[in-house]
Amino acid sequence: MSKREILFVEAIREALREEMRRDEAVFLMGEDLRIWGAPLGQTKGIWDEFGDKRVLDTPISEMGFIGAGAGAAALGSRPVVELMFIDFFGIAGEQIFNQAPKLRYMFGGRMKVPMVIRTLIGAGMSAAAHHSSSAYSIIAHMPGWKCVIPSNPYDAKGLLKTAIRDDDPVMYFEHKMLLNTKGEAPEEEYTIPLGEAAIKREGEDATVVALAWMVHKALKAADTLSEEGINIEVIDPRTIVPLDKKTIINSVKKTGRLVVVDEDHERCGLSAELSAIVAEEAFDSLKAPIKRVATPTVPIPFSPVLEDAVIPNEDRIIKAVKEVTSYKASK
């Protein structure tokens, strides 16, 4: 395949454009997608190519248009709807939690809802408590959504294309700190299946699972740790529903130690879920307590000083890894 570097945000645009060309049923809907091209340029240029019909600008009515997306999908359209920031999930909460993802089940499996929601997540921009959430744990907690959380342009493109072709509702999370990062992605057509983790770095001393922005922090921590002779295995699940449990469990069987790095809030979050899976399914292999490096369950504060204090960082990852690798049982 050809070597080529693109921005994360370009990967999103390419995936959208390619799928819109491939399938007439795909259309975009959301606020300010046309002239603005979405708040961070994710849909820039698409309106120019596809026009009003395939790119719908909506009023600020998330409950209405997300429900409308689900309804259109139920009859055969394949809308890709933007919820500008995941923090707005409550505005459309009824449609996000009770309708789109439950329809197929409630109706006995006799229909399907091939809708994608794209949404921005994450802190790092001092955007404060209404524009910095991750919240994917909540989406994963409620039945019916597949959840895609890419960490690099290659995955972003391949997974978005798969998400659009998937017959179930898929929530696709775009981390705002990643949109302007670069990475390799071939020009040729490719897709990535949902439910396959990526081992970003191999190691024997501890398993570190991380998503999106946190993958990059974990990899930096890995560099620092390796200088001290500690080699961690960094796993990026890429999708959390479906979840590639096998890759995580196999890794823990090898390393005997698990640190989960998660930007979502700690309490009842994804970090708890991964910990619980391993505590049940890889118990015998565990040589140390499972550590979570997650965002404490507080609203994301505005001031950079405070934001930095709650979002997981390299230091906290290194500290947790050292705790598990140096752990001596007290019994």
Partner: protein
């Protein structure tokens, strides 16, 4: 508008099917055959039948917690609906939905919702799909008076207005939301008054007059099919029973309920049919007998149907397997 004997008898039959279905459902619920929460449509048949008579099979409706009537009127098979109320494998939703979640996409029933106002955005999306695909299908959102105080109503009708979507918003104004009188939760006189806020036509009709409902709906459907956008159609009606089975209904006096029953849309159409010579008493009785037989068969079907298999509880979340 010309309306012929056949259509009138069809509407009579349609309303009677619903009434009899609900009467039996009430008994079956009391007898423990039907579990869950059950909201009967008796008394409101003029609305569902009047509106659905103006629709084609490939048009779609969105329904509510009080949905049996809509689904039957749109062409749902009473056998599969009854089996669904029973929670059986043969139900239209394989026993997963129950009374509040009936759907049958094959006949244009996009689904009921246990959440007040919950299906309004969805069926608005059906209309969006029709416009996107450039078909001439039409969508109908059914909802109660109480639902018009939900944000979903506001946002959806506005979307339909700005995009000229082919949809009817049909408010079944039975004057109550559970125990709450609509006059205590709304300062305007009619729900139709709310249409103005969206630049949409708002019409109020007597929901007990099925012919009037049919005519108003037909006009609105024609508008919609021609790409002229949505209509808010308010049908004044009332329910014969409590809000749901188990509701003592003390917020309405006996007289109010009696008065309501007097305005019964079925009796009214029956009288009209006889008075205007469209049908004889005998013809009407024959229809009723036939319906009773049909419902009896549906009950038997439900009663004899197998239960779903416990392991099926994990199926149908996703098209691809559960995880």
């Amino acid at each position: 508008m010309e309306i012929n004997k056949e259509k009138l008898l069809e509407m009579y039959r349609g309303m009677f099917v619903i009434r009899h279905f609900e009467t039996k459902t009430k008994e079956l619920f009391a007898g423990g055959k039907i579990p869950g929460f059950v909201h009967l449509y008796s008394g409101e048949e003029g609305v569902a039948v009047g509106v659905c008579s103006a629709l084609r099979k490939d048009d779609y409706i969105g329904s509510t917690h009080r949905g049996h009537g809509h689904c039957i009127a749109k062409g749902g098979d009473v056998k599969y609906i009854m089996a669904e109320l029973y929670g059986r494998e043969t139900g239209c939703c394989r026993g997963k939905g129950g009374s509040m979640h009936i759907a049958d996409f094959d006949v244009g029933i996009m689904g009921a919702s246990g959440i007040v106002g919950g299906s309004i955005p969805l069926i608005t999306g059906a209309a969006l799909h029709f416009k996107y695909k450039e078909t001439d299908q039409v969508a109908v959102a059914f909802f109660g008076d109480g639902a018009t105080n939900q944000g979903s109503f506001h946002e959806s009708i506005n979307l339909a207005a700005i995009w000229d979507l082919p949809i009817l918003y049909v408010c079944e104004n039975n004057k109550y939301a559970e125990s709450t009188s609509i006059s205590s939760v709304m300062r305007v006189k009619t729900v139709a008054d709310r249409a103005e806020a969206y630049g949409v036509p708002g019409i109020t009709v007597d929901g007990n007059d099925v012919v009037a409902v049919y005519e108003a709906a037909s006009d609105a459907v024609e508008r919609a099919r021609k790409g002229k956008g949505p209509t808010l159609l308010e049908c004044e009606t009332c329910r014969h029973h409590g809000h749901f089975e188990g509701d003592s209904g003390t917020y309405r006096t006996k007289e109010m309920v009696e008065e309501c029953k007097k305005r019964c849309p079925i009796k009214r159409l029956g009288k009209f049919l006889e008075d205007e010579g469209f049908a004889t008493k005998q013809e009407i009785e024959d229809i009723e007998k036939d319906v009773e037989r049909e419902i009896a068969e549906a009950i038997e079907f439900a009663d004899k149907s197998p239960w779903p298999k416990p392991e099926d509880a994990l199926k149908d979340v996703f098209v691809t397997p559960y995880y």
